[in-house]
Symmetry: C2
Subunit: 141 residues, 2 copies
Amino acid sequence: MGLSIGQVAERTGLSVHALRFYEREGLLADQVRRESNGRRVYSEDDVGWLAMCIKFRSSGMPLDTIRQYTELVRKGAGNEADRLALLRSHQEHIAAQIEELQEAMRVITHKVTIYEEHVAAGTASCLWTTPNEEPGKELSA
Amino acid sequence: MGLSIGQVAERTGLSVHALRFYEREGLLADQVRRESNGRRVYSEDDVGWLAMCIKFRSSGMPLDTIRQYTELVRKGAGNEADRLALLRSHQEHIAAQIEELQEAMRVITHKVTIYEEHVAAGTASCLWTTPNEEPGKELSA
DNA sequence: ACTTGACCTAGACAACGCTCTAGCTTTTAC
DNA sequence: GTAAAAGCTAGAGCGTTGTCTAGGTCAAGT
């Protein structure tokens, strides 16, 4: 039931350093328990919370915002609307990122296509002799 | 036809600082021309190239990788296969990012839904009195 | 003449998110 | 009993990606 920092590191993928760092930064919803000797004992809840933090991070939420969210939760019931606002705003942020990535993907896929043609056409025989021409100018158009 | 650094900043959205920084970092395909007084003069091609760099950056390509790509292009024809490999690898990277974001989006949308219910149900009357309970435990399941 | 504003270089500084070190204690395995 | 492994704190260090400052040049407007 109680996990050591090493075990938590293993199953979250975070380093033990990062785990201590997150704790210092106030990202953990509730105080991590300690053994008599001072070692941290993580509960399953702690691990669950960390998993959520990792999802937040992996979608580009800054530690600072995670801390804000954590603080809301720590304050307990009554600020659900605030939490919701924060979550929604992050949702929008994710959506924007996805769009941006998709747009970049389109552009790059286009470039890839062009290069594929070039490479297929000229593998052994280098036909087009425009050294500094880059199939990327279509971007400016 | 020739643009000042300020004009380029305006139309790329990069700061003049960033433009000089990018140049120092070797991200520009061809040497930026200078006026007799030493001021930079950007061509439309330069701006096009910068637009591409921005797309790369916005999809998470590190400056270092952009520099590698730039170097390939600078070397001229003959390494198209290398450029293609780099682009493809970035394509995969983008795809992975999109998936990660979509996964995070699912999780967060789920949380949002739960909060919406809670907020709708208990706006004025705080019904559920479990202060430290966070609708996020479902993550660990 | 003089001020304003855009530009130049070189280099310091900064935010973010960890990561690592030093120096020490405790636990575990042999 | 002893050595290796794991933990602790406090704080330094670092890679990335810019941003900002200092100190100076240059051109244009008033």
